[in-house]
């Protein structure tokens, strides 16, 4: 089965992925920070039983006890955005429900009892929400959610109260970055009740000009409005990025040189650090979108990004590798794919 990120998608030249996440807690357990190990196990069993006969995309979810995975495997899942970094840091009594195409992941005993997450490629928030909402309804029929009429779904952190919905879109903004417009964009986005962050969310660095834009406010706004707001802002960001990209074409030879050198580096390098990989892929992605590169497709780059994170490279080799060995293996994988 193809993974969700391997399929063509709307606005894929600028938007890498869309994500919807719902935070939910059960009313018959204390929240995560006050739970005993016994209660965590009971909760995981209860959720597993409730989810077992809910088919997602036609096939049942598979369940993984996070403790049963070694550190490499756990962090490889973070690199593929299947789980949060927080979730794998302490794997004890944490369980994951995962769909076959890896687009749906349900984290049990994260900061909230349940974090229901659906990923879609390109700009596809509404279809991701629809699926997330269906899973939420199916669970709601079997468990009792902690809910208050005034505050909505009750969450561990008050920043998620209300809908418990976080919608985020991962965007590639090399041209806006090059034209020095990112600070201005960040300020505007913050004013609109949204936030823009690094590639792996809160507190993370920006790799290869990839940013996450997400909603901040969850109380006093419906799910549909929160998603529509985010989508309309992202569409404007896309327009701005397209505009900035066009101005890069004014110096076409320089652009072609930068982009083709990057493709060359990816095709011929023998050692590729993660940072360099992200930078070269960023240029190649830009080159594809501006019609400079014709023989590589965007989904192939998405697949490469999912395969070449530091933990994913070690996972593939079945052992922990030194940074230099990782760079060597990474370069090999990239050569094979391009």
């Amino acid at each position: 089965m193809s993974k969700w990120y391997e399929l063509p998608a709307p606005h894929e030249d600028i938007v890498l992925s869309s994500r919807i996440r719902l935070a939910r807690n059960l009313s018959d357990f204390p929240f995560e920070s006050r739970m005993s190990d016994d209660q965590r196990r009971q909760l995981a069993d209860k959720v597993k039983a409730a989810l077992q006969d809910i088919p997602v995309g036609g096939t049942p979810l598979s369940f993984v006890e996070m403790e049963s995975l070694d550190e490499i495997k756990r962090y490889a899942m973070v690199e593929r955005h299947e789980v949060s970094r927080e979730f794998v840091k302490n794997p004890k009594n944490r369980m994951l429900g995962l769909s076959a195409d890896e687009s749906v992941s349900i984290m049990v005993n994260e900061e909230d009892h349940l974090r229901i997450q659906v990923m879609a490629n390109g700009l596809n928030l509404s279809s991701a929400f629809q699926l997330c909402n269906e899973i939420d309804d199916a669970l709601d029929a079997k468990v009792d959610y902690a809910f208050d009429e005034k505050l909505g779904y009750l969450t561990t952190c008050p920043t998620n109260l209300g809908t418990g919905l976080r919608a985020s879109v991962m965007v590639h903004l090399p041209a806006l970055e090059k034209s020095g417009l990112m600070n201005q964009l960040t300020a505007t986005i913050n004013k609109l009740g949204l936030t823009i962050r690094g590639t792996y969310g809160e507190g993370s660095k920006v790799l290869g000009s990839i940013y996450q834009i997400s909603n901040q406010i969850t109380l006093g706004i419906t799910e549909q409005d929160a998603i529509q707001n985010l989508e309309s802002i992202v569409l404007q960001v896309i327009e701005n990025e397209k505009h900035a990209r066009e101005s890069l074409l004014n110096d076409k030879h320089r652009l072609e040189d930068v982009v083709c050198r990057s493709l060359g580096a990816l095709r011929y390098a023998r050692l590729l650090s993660s940072k360099e990989f992200f930078e070269e892929v960023s240029n190649v992605r830009l080159g594809i979108s501006l019609g400079v590169i014709h023989d590589v497709e965007i989904p192939r780059l998405n697949r490469l990004m999912a395969l070449t994170g530091s933990a994913s490279v070690c996972e593939r080799e079945g052992k922990n590798l030194s940074p230099q060995d990782r760079d060597f293996v990474r370069a090999g994988i990239v050569r094979n794919y391009l």
């Binding site: 709601d140 208050d148 909505g152 008050p158 920043t159 209300g162 006093g220």
Partner: protein
């Protein structure tokens, strides 16, 4: 100068806070600055709350009778311990919640357990609006019908809330 917050340690940080155009200078010690400013939830909210209400929430002895969480725990971690904490500390948390979201009432989806009641509440609010429109138009005949509907809805809602209380 002593810390404006704990009144114990030497203030080593100066914060400039502007609310509705009015600027205040706050002098805070390192430990209070750390616990208040850098807890992931409350950023500047706890300071706002403290100075606008004259409360010293960190000193409150109240604990949640379901999970044992104190307000001090909530302030330092930015997390509550259970659903009941939101009832127990509703007074202390409501301002922070409103500052985070700018609103204080949920308008989105509801789980099945609450959906029926919410629907009735929305119907009631709509009926009340309709009633005032009809009275304005002096359509008293129709207004009487709507008023009866409102009475019926209110009775149903009160009945169901008693039932909920009875369950607890």
């Amino acid at each position: 100068m002593l810390c404006d917050y704990c009144q114990k340690n030497e203030a080593t940080n100066v914060l400039k806070q502007t609310i509705n155009g009015k600027t205040k200078l706050l002098h805070i010690c390192d430990s209070c600055a750390n616990s208040m400013l850098f807890s992931n939830l409350f950023s500047d909210f706890s300071i706002n709350q403290f100075f606008s209400q004259g409360l010293q929430p960190v000193r409150t002895k109240k604990v949640c009778d379901k999970c044992g969480m104190s307000l001090d725990d909530i302030m330092s971690t930015g997390k509550v311990g259970c659903d009941h904490c939101y009832d127990v500390f509703s007074g202390e948390l409501s301002r922070s919640i409103e500052k985070i979201h700018g609103k204080s009432n949920h308008v989105g989806k509801a789980p099945r357990s609450a959906a029926g009641k919410l629907k009735q509440k929305n119907e009631l609010a709509a009926a009340k609006e309709e009633l005032s429109r009809l009275i304005e138009k002096q359509n008293f005949e129709q207004a009487a019908v709507v008023r009866d509907r409102i009475k019926k809805l209110e009775a149903e809602l009160n009945g169901s809330s008693e039932e909920v209380q009875g369950d607890e």
